[in-house]
Each structure stands twice: as C-alpha cells, then as structure tokens.
C-alpha cells in the first residue's frame, strides 16, 4: 500500500473512533503531549491503561462472585477504572463505569453484574481499536513515513 494511502486510512480510522464515541477529545490531548522528545508517550500511557484495566476487571469479577458482595471493595475499583479510562479518552468505558458506580451505590448485585459485562465489552472494544490504530501507525513509520497530525475539524 502507498504511504499516502496508509496515512489516509489511519486518519479515517481515527476519525471513526471519535465519531462512534469510542474515544473523546482527551485522546487528542494525549497526542498533543507526544513529541520528538517523547515519541512513544501515547502508546506508553495506553499500555498502562491496558495493564491497569486487566487487573481491575479481574478483581471486579472476583469481588462480584463472592457470596456476600463487599461494595466497599467494588466501588473503589470502578472509581479507579473510571479515572484511568477518562484520562486516556476511552469515553464509552468511562460512561459504563459511571452507570456501574450508581448501581454500586444502590448495592444492586444483579445490576452490577450486568454493568461489569458492559464495561468489559466496551473495554475490549477500545482495546481492539487502539491496537489496530497502533499497528497502522507502525506500518506508516516502517515505510519511512510520518504519522499525520489529527485534524480537529469534524
């Protein structure tokens, strides 16, 4: 594939993620923080997000599977996941966490189980999308090209 074509694909792909609400403007903030002195900043932060989230989702599954659910343990996990997803711009994960927390407050175990599934779904989605995005970037760089700056006019 031609370099220009790859760059266009990347831009279109990124744009679609914003239009679908998978990512929000916070992701653009992340990109702005990346420069020649910190060329891998975005992927480093996103990797941290993946690591944190995998761990938290695992802990949440365990906590919700207990005979008696300790919401004092569940809520801080959801709070943390809400925070980190918000920090990288993973909008749908963040929104799912907000809903999750409201059911934690109500101590509604069944609803929390459903929320966990929803959060997992959104998380796997954004993870998949971001991994694809990074692959596209790598292909461009490998072909000697530059990652096009994200245009904000949409």
């Amino acid at each position: 594939m031609e370099l220009a074509q790859m760059q266009k694909s990347l831009q279109d792909y990124t744009k679609s993620l914003f239009l679908e609400g998978v990512l929000d403007s916070q992701f653009l903030q992340l990109q702005q923080l990346q420069d020649e002195s910190n060329p891998d900043f975005v992927s480093q932060v996103v990797t941290l997000f993946f690591q944190d989230s995998d761990r938290i989702l695992n802990d949440l599954s365990l906590s919700l599977d207990q005979q008696v659910v300790d919401f004092k343990k569940v809520d801080p996990h959801v709070h943390q996941l809400k925070g980190s997803s918000s920090s990288i711009g993973a909008q749908r994960v963040k929104n799912a966490c907000v809903v999750f927390r409201s059911f934690c407050e109500q101590q509604n175990v069944e609803a929390c189980h459903r929320c966990l599934q929803q959060v997992k779904q959104e998380y796997y989605l954004v993870k998949n999308r971001l991994e694809t995005l990074f692959k596209l970037e790598q292909q461009i760089v490998a072909s000697g090209g530059m990652i096009p700056a994200m245009e904000l006019g949409f």
Partner: protein
C-alpha cells in the same frame, strides 16, 4: 535588579495512580517545569523535608534545600488524602507559602470549597488538561517574586519594587470579590485568600505585610 532568574519551576506531583502520575508529569514537562512525582502524601512530605511528627525541633534539623514552587496533588488517595497533605503543608511554617493545587475526578462542590478554604490555590477536575497547567505559572511566579523581594536589600526603604506592584494589582477591590464569591464557588489564588480573611468574623482584620499601596 528585580529580574526573575530563568531557572525552571520545580513542581512536586502527588498521585497514587501510575497512569495519572505519568500524565501530570508529561503535562508539566510540556509546560517547561521540572517535575518530581511521588505516589503518597507521606512521601511528598518526606521529599519536602517535613516529618510526620509535630515536634518543631525535628522540622528544624530535617529541612532539605529542595526548592519546590508548587505542589499538585490528587484528592483521593489511600492513607493521607490530598486534603490532609494540603493541611499539613499549610500548617508548616517552612512550607505554607508553597502553592498547593488539588486534582480530583469528582466534582463535589463541598469538597472544592473545603480545599480552597484550607488554602489550595486551584482545584482541577480530572482529566487535567494543558490549559489547566498553564494556569499554574502565576502561582509559581508569586513564590519566585517573594523570594526576590526577600533578598537582603534591607537598606532600601519599603517602597514598592516593580515585582511587588504586580502582586498588588492582582488583588481586587473587596466589594468585587464579594460579588465573585456569590457567583462562582471556584476562585483562584490570593483573591480568594483575601476574601476569606475579610468574611471571617473571628479573626481580626489582616494586615498586608510588605505591600504599600500608593494612593
């Protein structure tokens, strides 16, 4: 004479989340600040040179020569919260002049007021943005200017130096501040401090040191 040195501002950032530490560090670096990050309030105090104990003698002997121009801390942290850290800093004679900024992912007006009343300069909602970080410069400038003002030039009269007049101009007339208070719960910097000193019934009228205003 009266020139602020070109040295970078040094910010101490406190957050228990590794991801958020990485974010705030990068945001501050992008704003040309030197950054030290720690993951707990206790480590922050240690770094400053403050021991947990209230023994004044301990504070004297343990003081480090680290010049910190601003502390930015997360509110929700296990053990010592950002609010606890703020209080400890403001209670310390050595470090109370360091501006403190609180960050939180939750928009709780009571929490925000409490922090501002305790002396926080700003309260940022997470995720913190570059635009927020640029608001920090004036607070950090204040500490540098103060240091310049405190330089041993006691032979001079206590007339306004150019840097000090800058500080004076930032203080609004009191009635304007009262209006602001009713409209916005979130105020920044010394305007807020001046405000609370006026409305507090128990304290006597504050005297503004080192500032002489020419009529």
């Amino acid at each position: 004479m009266g020139m602020v040195r070109e040295s970078q501002f040094h910010v101490l950032a406190v957050d228990d989340s590794h991801l958020d530490r990485k974010m705030i560090e990068r945001l501050l670096q992008k704003s040309s600040c030197q950054v030290t990050t720690v993951d707990t309030g206790s480590k922050a105090l240690e770094f400053l040179g403050l021991r947990e104990s209230n023994d004044p003698n301990a504070l004297e002997t343990h003081q480090q020569e680290v010049e910190i121009n601003l502390i930015i801390t997360d509110y929700c942290m296990p053990g010592m919260t950002g609010y606890d850290l703020l209080k400890k800093v403001k209670e310390s004679a050595a470090f109370r002049s360091i501006p403190v900024v609180i960050m939180s992912s939750e928009n709780v007006p009571a929490r925000i007021s409490r922090c501002l009343e305790e002396g926080a300069e700003e309260f940022f909602l997470k995720p913190v943005k570059l635009a927020d970080v640029t608001k920090l410069k004036p607070h950090m400038m204040k500490t540098k200017l103060k240091k310049e003002g405190e330089k041993p030039s006691e032979e001079e009269n206590a007339t306004l130096k150019p840097e000090e007049s800058l500080v004076v101009e930032m203080i609004l007339p009191l009635n304007q501040e009262l209006e602001l208070e009713q409209k916005e719960p979130m105020l920044s910097s010394n305007k807020r401090k001046a405000m609370e000193e006026v409305i507090s019934a128990d304290r006597s009228r504050p005297k503004y040191n080192d500032i002489t205003t020419s009529a």
